[in-house]
């Protein structure tokens, strides 16, 4: 029989060990990626296109594509998410059936695997929407019914919608009831109150939501796999109907379908490092913004 004290110590040790696994994993991942990739990161690497059948050169088209992807995604997803959050918190009450249905749908959306979004994008945007557009306006010629940056962005917007809704709703709740009442008592309508008082007061929350959505969306490969990402393109995307290269997808193909995986290991590490740097920066700014928001709520 172990004494109580020893059992207690063992337990403390065990919990500490479990906690350490997480820290060690992050350290290991970051360590290997920086170790393997840092030396490859040069201005040339960041600003040039891949060459020699993608075994040399840079990753500029993938960086550019990633930016375009998340920008279009945000332009669509942030307003839709914000409006949903406004609807939920300002126009429905907790018990309303409709609000419950919307909340349930949003929670479900948050739990759907990314690959399912990819398949949904393929089925809904490309085949259904694109197919109809082509039949209507291009007499059946392939134009919108193939993968492109618009469909990929919309698919990603759908994936990141719950993130936006949750963080905007949280921010809206921090706007004091007294301020809404002040506005309404002056004869402002509900909408005027939302526009002039609630939205300005939730600005940092909306920004946080946007950043979190971007950091969640950037690097997701599965949703863009069938909806718009390209293996290699000689041109940068200039239209909604163009395909694009993307950092996460680039890492995926370099590690699985490159003509010479061994030769490109440096490029793989460096691309991953760029992707990580991007999402980390976004995450940290979201955390900082959120901390500011919480401080204001507490005050």
């Amino acid at each position: 029989m172990l004494s109580k004290r020893i059992k207690g110590r063992l337990f403390v040790g065990f919990t500490a060990f479990c906690a350490f696994i997480g820290v060690a994993a992050v350290a290991w991942i970051l360590g290997t990626i920086i170790w393997g990739g840092a030396s490859h990161i040069t201005w040339q690497f960041l600003s040039a296109a891949p060459t020699e059948g993608m075994t040399e050169g840079g990753i500029f088209p993938a960086i550019f594509g990633t930016f375009m992807l998340v920008i279009i995604m945000s332009i669509v997803g942030v307003p839709v998410g914000t409006i949903t959050a406004i609807y939920l918190s300002e126009y429905t009450n907790r018990q309303s059936k409709l609000a419950q249905v919307i909340r349930f749908a949003v929670n479900t959306l948050a739990g759907i695997p990314a690959i399912v979004f990819g398949l949904f994008g393929l089925g809904f945007f490309i085949q259904f929407t694109g197919g109809h557009l082509d039949r209507l306006f291009y007499s059946g010629e392939l134009h919108w019914s193939q993968p492109n940056i618009l469909w990929a962005s919309l698919t990603l917007a759908l994936l990141t919608l719950p993130v936006v809704i949750v963080s905007v709703e949280e921010a809206i709740k921090t706007v004091p009831r007294e301020l809404r009442e002040a506005s309404l008592a002056l004869g402002a309508t509900r909408w005027e109150t939302i526009w002039n008082v609630v939205l300005p007061g939730s600005f940092s929350g909306i920004l946080t939501g946007a950043i979190l959505a971007v950091s969640r969306g950037a690097g997701e490969v599965a949703p863009i796999l069938f909806t718009g990402a390209a293996y290699f393109l000689p041109h940068l995307p200039t239209q909604f109907s163009d395909q694009f290269m993307e950092l996460g997808y680039h890492v995926f193909i370099m590690t699985t379908q490159s003509t010479d995986v061994e030769k490109t290991i440096g490029i793989q590490y460096a691309t991953t490092l760029v992707l990580l740097a991007l999402t980390f920066t976004l995450n940290f700014s979201a955390i900082a913004l959120r901390a500011r928001l919480r401080k204001r709520t507490a005050a």
Binding site: L179, G187, A188, T189, V197
Partner: protein, 256 residues
């Protein structure tokens, strides 16, 4: 009631209000005279704020509120079908217990209402802001810093700014819910002076838990207790010869 030939601004008949199952106001009937100050007194939780908020329909915003009875403003029922609450709240302004300036500049706070109602011309707006701040007796203190944040003002100044903000939409009635309860004595007396000055132009209803304040500023006083209007009369009479036992107990400090 004295001066009964004076016009009535608000007449309330058999008003009942429920919060869910809680019967918060029971058969309240009252006449509020134009260009007078009417005070609502009574122990905490007796329904003063609730009643005040029925006069500009602010309770409409709370889930589960049911209101029966009639509230007439200049003879027209404000709860009738088709009444525009925006128009109503323009005519019946409200000052809250906790001063609630917007996190905007002093100028923007006062300009908020007029802007909402469509005033765009800069010169007119400037003049209106100045006039409202003067009426609220705060112009001299803020005239050089109109574009500073309203949140930088002291509590008493914030409350007067809120009054200026309400005045800027040119209301006929001002509802004040314990406007000085969070202020120090000096700031309180400023608000009281202001109430006294404003009654020439506005009809004022003020909730207070401070009996001296009610005695000082009001012409008529209504005593509420547990959701009922117990007694309503000229302030002088309420404080010198109340008819009801409960009123007397309350004003002599035996409860509440």
């Amino acid at each position: 009631m004295t001066d009964s030939n004076k016009t009535l601004k608000l007449t309330v008949r058999d008003l009942n209000l429920h919060y869910g199952i809680k019967h918060a106001l029971q058969d309240v009937s009252i006449d509020i005279r134009e260009h007078r100050v009417t005070a609502f007194i009574g122990p905490s939780g007796c329904g003063k704020s609730t009643f005040l908020r029925t006069l500009n329909r602010m309770n409409d915003l709370i889930d589960g509120v049911k209101i029966k009875g009639s509230v007439k403003l200049d003879g027209q029922d404000i709860y009738a079908n088709g009444v525009d609450t925006v128009e109503l709240r323009k005519r019946v302004g409200m000052i809250f217990q906790k001063s609630n300036p917007f996190p905007k500049s002093i100028y923007e706070n006062v300009a908020y209402g007029p802007r909402i109602h469509g005033l765009k011309d800069k010169a007119t707006l400037d003049a209106l802001v100045e006039k409202s701040l003067r009426q609220a007796a705060i112009w001299d203190e803020v005239k050089d810093e109109l574009h500073k944040s309203a949140l930088a003002l002291s509590g008493g100044q914030q409350q007067r700014l809120c009054i200026a903000r309400a005045l800027a939409v040119d209301p006929e009635v001002l509802l004040m819910d314990e406007p000085a309860s969070a202020l120090d004595p000096l700031a309180t007396s400023k608000i009281e002076e202001l109430v006294y000055e404003l009654k020439d132009r506005y009809t004022i209803v003020i909730v207070t838990h401070n009996m001296q304040q009610a005695a000082r500023v009001s012409d008529d006083t209504a005593f509420f207790y547990m959701g009922k209007l117990i007694e309503f009369d000229a302030t002088e009479r309420i404080f010198t010869s109340p008819k009801e036992r409960q009123t007397e107990d309350y004003i002599t400090g035996r409860f509440g």
